[in-house]
Symmetry: C2
Subunit: 272 residues, 2 copies
């Protein structure tokens, strides 16, 4: 029987960190919610009632039962390098980074007094920052943990997310396919279209659908590419080989079976 969690610290009170704080509150959490963030973010987060108070990392960590790292990946890695010094023995640390293998191995090498379980809430929206925080952001969406952890599993259920347990390497391999590859396909398409004058005159819904992700800011992707390059390289290789096959099959009857299989996969993805 673990003691009840009375103090949660959130580092990086942006869309994800802020939404997690609001969702936890809505699910009935009655303890203290401490934010660690930039002065500008802290001011907005306090004004919006997303956090109860704000402290520097060292002081916050010293009081935390649970520390939730919701910064960009590189900052999560830096925080993990410093955190063991400040954390209370037995505290639970988790994160919300979009790649998991590098974060989990960095945690294993640096966190000794506390325990760490990696996390990845598969949720987001176009607007960012604590202003966009939303207690319902995680509802119905996958929430990956890299290992079983009763307290986190209880919370994930309470905020309405769907628990998925995946080891860090498997997680990174799968998101390379369903998230990082789509981003690159969209960016590549928009960049090829940019080089064809006149194409915007005939572009319709197909081009819009496929280039929406290309609007994403690079700052999020820099860290993802830096921490998941081998898996992304592998899926790019698989995908390019598939396009080369389709290119050869373009006018062959085989194409009908390819379309049927792809449509069935696309329908499957929508059952969610």
């Amino acid at each position: 029987m673990t003691p009840p969690v009375t103090t949660v610290v959130i580092t990086g009170v942006g869309l994800i960190g802020g939404s997690f704080a609001l969702a936890l509150r809505k699910a009935g959490f009655t303890g203290r919610m401490i934010g660690v963030s930039s002065p500008a973010t802290v001011e907005k987060a306090l004004a919006a009632g997303v956090i109860d108070e704000a402290l520097p990392l060292a002081e916050a960590a010293a009081q935390a039962d649970v520390i939730y790292l919701a910064q960009p990946i590189q900052q999560i890695l830096e925080t993990l390098g410093a955190l063991d010094r400040y954390a209370r023995p037995g505290a639970l640390i988790t994160d919300a980074g979009s790649t998991k293998a590098m974060i989990c191995s960095h945690a294993a090498a640096n966190i000794r007094k506390a325990s760490f379980v990696g996390g990845h809430p598969m949720a987001g929206k176009e607007s960012r920052g604590v202003e966009a925080a939303d207690a319902e952001l995680f509802r119905g969406r996958p929430y990956v943990l890299t290992a079983r952890e009763p307290e986190l599993e209880k919370w994930i259920e309470a905020i309405g997310a769907r628990l998925v347990i995946l080891d860090p390497t498997e997680h990174d391999r799968l998101v390379a396919l369903v998230s990082h590859l789509p981003q690159l396909l969209s960016t590549a398409l928009a960049s090829v279209i940019a080089e064809q004058p006149g194409s915007e005159k005939v572009a319709g819904p197909a081009a819009s659908d496929l280039t929406r992700l290309a609007l994403s800011p690079y700052e999020i992707w820099r860290d993802i590419f830096a921490t998941n390059a081998p898996s992304i390289d592998a899926v790019l290789g698989t995908y390019i080989a598939r396009l080369e096959t389709l290119r050869v099959q373009l006018r062959s009857p085989e194409m009908e079976r390819v379309f049927e299989k792809a449509a069935s996969s696309a329908r499957e993805l929508r059952k969610g």
Copy 2:
């Protein structure tokens, strides 16, 4: 001064043919609208008031001032092969096929008594058939003509579409990029995802966006691939080369510029 158009014949009274009939009516056309289609479609089109009457091709063509071919591409090619025999001297023939070079050269080789100008309304929706016909389908959307033609240009303006004049080869090259390539990218992604068990557990909005086109039925695409293979092959080659470049640049600072250029292209496409 050309005589006024009093009789329009539409072959293939489906979503596009039916919508064109309704849009023309709404724009003030007061002449006769004759449909040439299967008995089942004719029955629905008459009941819905989309056409005034239905006739076999030979009888309909003999009365037409304008003949609008809205069948699948292969059937348009077949109709063009037979039509010169039935058409009135001086009639105007146009079509709504998704590729233009093969149709225009087939028309040039077969139509002598009448004149032909190729067309491609860049519009559609997920539901098909005359039941889905909609007078507003073309509003705000590009409508390509392969040559200037005053009567057709007047109608295109009247139904609210945006006129784009493109020669058939240029049209096919551009739609290979903005329409046919996106379809293949989506089909390829869905088929690669289908082979990775577990990926559906972590698939989010990115995978949904990029696999939506993979739901399209093959029967439309068979004719497009059959009549535009060289252009599609060329854009696939360009695109694969771009992916290979991105693969090499994955962790390089160059990637930031690629993302910025792609985002700017994606925003440009959305200005319509």
